[in-house]
Point group: C2
Chain length 350, copies 2
């Protein structure tokens, strides 16, 4: 059998700004679905779900931008964390119809993958497929490393999370609540404020497009100061936070979405780092690859919460492989609530 498989390739590196159809192009190729084309210990996957994450922007950049990730290759498919179904197999451990996680899946409808990259999902585990992309995937793990490992939360502490309604923020807030903290988030719309407070359990949230004086907002929402700030945005919000930190505050740096689309010399400078001296603040950047030795511990804790219904997920689903460019651009416009996911196969089970 031969199928048409569409995939998104990087046609041109991205300078400043959000990628457009000049940079990312949809390419169609014909693919033979047959065991003959597979190398040993490889499988053919029909992709079902793909994770759309801000860090991918760094891999499309024409210059080093602070994350130091390797660039995607030009004219090759961009890759991301995905879930697919085995449709052909040359590996004894993987059979037709099984559902697997592929951490470096091409943004495509079909792909060939080495079995060693893949992890089987147990359909009877009581955990949904989408949870594997969100709560148990990159955003959940990032939230766990940021809050639990580097944040080291103590009951009663005050936690602030930016981009709080995004993929990471939703889980970060819930983890901090589960550790007994008071949690406040900043977001870009009133809908998200309501969502965080009513659906996710944040104690407070504010819309930075309305409360534009960040300093005043933080004074209002943190009368007792900030003990942990999970920074997802950088720039002016980070600067404002440094005026409200308590002694020995921790600032895990998860990413800086407000800064990704600018060259570094054009980014917003943080002028009050001296506050870190007097308040003995620890600021620490992290990349998930360095914490893979704790992935098992993370999974155990999060699966426990999910089964006890202590963690809620929120997904913003874009439909069809064609929607990838739009879904990716949406990350930078503050238009989504929850984890952005592309549903590649419309019949896929969530």
């Amino acid at each position: 059998m031969e199928v048409e498989s569409k995939e998104w390739i990087l046609a041109q590196y991205v300078g400043e700004g959000v990628p457009t159809s000049e940079h990312l192009k949809l390419r169609t190729s014909n693919l033979k679905i047959t065991k003959d084309v597979l190398p040993d210990d490889h499988v053919m996957l029909r992709l079902h779900w793909l994770s759309v994450d801000p860090y991918l922007r760094a891999k499309m950049s024409s210059q080093q931008d602070g994350l130091y990730l390797s660039q995607f290759h030009l004219n090759q498919a961009v890759t991301t964390f995905g879930v697919g179904e085995v449709i052909e197999s040359k590996h004894s451990g993987l059979s037709f119809g099984e559902i697997v996680i592929h951490p470096f899946a091409p943004v495509a409808e079909y792909c060939i993958a080495p079995a060693s990259f893949l992890r089987k999902i147990d359909p009877d585990s009581g955990v949904s497929v989408l949870d594997y992309i969100s709560a148990l995937g990159i955003p959940g793990f990032a939230a766990w490393v940021g809050i639990v490992v580097l944040g080291d939360p103590k009951p009663g502490e005050n936690v602030f999370i930016s981009a709080a309604a995004g993929g990471v923020g939703v889980f970060a807030g819930q983890l901090a609540k589960l550790k007994g903290c008071r949690v406040v988030g900043s977001v870009g719309s009133d809908v998200k404020v309501k969502f965080l407070k009513e659906e996710i359990g944040y104690d407070e949230a504010f819309n930075y497009n309305v409360e534009t004086d960040y300093d005043a907002a933080l004074s209002k929402y943190f009368p007792n100061g900030i003990d942990i700030y999970l920074d997802n945005v950088g720039g002016r919000m980070l600067e404002a936070v440094l005026n409200h930190v308590n002694s020995r505050a921790r600032i895990p740096l998860c990413g800086m979405i407000s800064q990704y689309n600018k060259v570094w010399t054009e980014r917003e400078g943080v002028r009050n780092l001296l506050n870190m001296v007097g308040k003995e603040v620890r600021m620490e950047g992290f990349m998930l690859a360095s914490y893979m030795n704790r992935f098992g511990e993370f999974l155990e804790e999060m699966i426990g919460y999910i089964k006890q219904r202590k963690i809620v997920s929120e997904h913003k689903i874009y439909h069809g492989i064609e929607s990838f460019l739009e879904s990716f651009g949406s990350l930078f416009t503050s238009s989504n609530v929850g984890k952005v996911i592309v549903q590649v196969n419309k019949d896929a089970k969530a």
Copy 2:
């Protein structure tokens, strides 16, 4: 007996800039040298040596400036780390002629002090009185906390130190060398470059007034990147360092002398903090008060080095209590080599 005692008082808080004679004024008062005026468990000291440190600037400020130290009181003597001689005593443990350290000594010729603040110096310890102010005082302890505790140096690592010929930098560089690191410093004059390389044992040093492209200088002196940066200056140099850090680099923030005399909104913003994410850099401010539980460990290690002649000290001595204002201003003009000290009593033994 009655003596004239001169002391420096804070007449006016300092806004921007280096303090002048408008802010710090010399006051003369008459003091009775007699046991009668002493409360129980107090002594009268004739001060011999006073430590002149950049952090004192923060205590003279009209606004919070990032160190969050309590302000000096207006019209009262400013205080600093000092050494003096007991000339009257109402405490059984301290006798006439004994030499003591006073961590909060007024910048004065004489003072009354509670015995509980004071620590006796053993004149037969093989350690000079000046060492107690420098290597074993605030600059030595700051260097030790920064390099040994927070820097966590490993043999072969590349260490960068700014304000390297200053009180902290001289000891920080030597400690890093003793831990097996390669050490490079930045300073404000060619004399200091020569001093660091020839007297202190730095592997390299550069004059930031000559090599004004900090990025190029760091490329040249750190072909293998920076593992530890002990930041004493903040601003542009910190930003340049963030373009040269290795994975998992540590940046202990000791102070930011280039920034003290400006209000925070006028300080130089650091625009490339995103590099901390990709390189997983840890930046941490520290205040010595929080590490006092390790002061004994520090003393033991440093006294060992001093007795083995593995640590060299360099002092810039200003003479007479009158010189305090000039000596303090000199900290901010990059004009000194080594630890700045005021010799209050011209007959004091070093």
